[in-house]
């Protein structure tokens, strides 16, 4: 059953699909939905990315429903409708937790999911279910190593340089107030809060420059 669903999702535009077993890690209301399917699509952060993600999620949900399993869709962060009943359950679970538990990647110094193939350039959605799916191996430690490019390039000095590991889930990777204040400033300056340098700069999964494919890594010196 793993194979069929995964193939269908990958064939419909998902970049990565993973399965995580979360026994004992969930709140009481959703404790019976102990398997998480994590879907990531290439992050372009426009309308299409989100609607693709939502449609993939619906596809998986329909598949599970047909087979008679229970499920709960946790929509992509930017598409959470706040005033629905189900929205009360969203904060009980995070997409990054599902993705690292499924072995899709680790949490980088920039606080984002880093996939070996796509780097931090993934948008995520999660489906919790009680279907017995074959789970992947969780990733326990950061594989960022000595790289600190996101830290060097961050315009607001928000990245502390701490390394993530599942053992110490509460170490502070990002000083959120700094990141937020930078976005606020940038919004006042040119109307958009966009920054995203820590995503652009990450060497994992970065595409070669169009004009100079040989020299795809930025020289920091």
């Amino acid at each position: 059953m793993n194979g069929t669903l995964k193939k269908e999702l990958l064939g419909s535009g998902a970049a990565v699909v993973g399965v995580a077993l979360l026994r004992g890690a969930l709140g009481k209301e959703i404790a019976h939905l102990e398997t998480a399917i994590s879907i990531g699509v290439d992050r372009k952060l426009n309308e299409d990315t989100i609607s693709l993600l939502v449609s993939l999620q619906k596809k998986a949900a329909q598949y599970l429903k047909r087979k008679g399993y229970r499920y709960l869709c946790i929509p992509p962060d930017s598409d959470r409708i706040k005033n629905t009943f189900v929205s009360k359950l969203y904060p009980l679970f995070t997409h990054k937790m599902a993705a690292t538990s499924a072995g899709l990647g680790w949490i980088g110094k920039n606080g984002l999911l880093i996939s070996p193939d796509f780097g931090p350039r993934l948008s995520l959605a999660t489906i919790l279910t009680n279907a017995p799916l074959q789970a992947g191996t969780p990733i326990e430690f950061s594989l960022c190593g000595d790289c600190g490019m996101c830290m060097e390039f961050c315009p607001s000095d928000a990245i502390t340089g701490e390394e993530w590991s599942r053992r110490e889930p509460y170490s502070e990777l990002i000083q959120m107030d700094r990141c937020a204040s930078h976005k606020k400033k940038s919004k006042a300056l040119h109307g958009k809060p966009n920054c995203g340098l820590c995503i652009t700069i990450c060497p994992y999964g970065r595409k070669p420059y169009k004009n100079d494919p040989e020299n795809s890594f930025v020289q920091t010196e």
């Binding site: 209301e29 959703i30 009943f85 009360k88 359950l89």
Partner: protein, 229 residues
Amino acid sequence: MITEEKKKELLERLRNAVIQYDEDTSKEASQEVLDVGMDANDAIFNGLVSGMEEVGRLFEAQEYFVPELLMCADALYAGLDILKPHVTQLDLGVRGSVVIGTVEGDVHDIGKNIVKMMFDVAGFTVYDLGRDVPLDKFVEEQLRTDSDLVCLSAMMTTTMTGMKKVIDDLRTKNPNVKIMIGGAPVSADIAEKWGADGYAKDANNALKDAINMISSLKKLKEEAEAKKK
């Protein structure tokens, strides 16, 4: 004019959309109800609400859990949003308004929202104060809106004592108002001791109570219609 068969089919589709927590079908079928000129009241009570009654049963039988219950509620609202503007106001003799909220310090509002939904469906005007509501606000809002009913919810033993204060305040200002309290730590004894008129133990019971209420409203509506004929 719409045929009986078509009507039955649409009601069945609405009902199943709620039971199957299928928001898209709920919207489609509701739109179709309006397109073919079917009575919106009929569609709500015999379609959507009838589905929610079944959901209540499934929840009680532990076939559905909280996630399903909430998804069903969303499906119901998806249809209700489309149908509601076309509802002709029913004269049920019990038309009223209700002030509802979760008391200060408490942010657990799933149960409150389910109860609110049931009042919404039953045609009450609902003044939802949300969660973590300052205690004075309940009294203020009741006086402002002259509501018949005030519903208080608390999920923690530390916050539930706030309900007693609200009840006392309400009683001194307005002896006639009906008060319902609910939430996990509340019991029938406490409700009586504190002078509340009604109580619902948890979301499950609140749902059951609210469904009973709607069922009796439905009966009243049918009787009213029978009289007309």
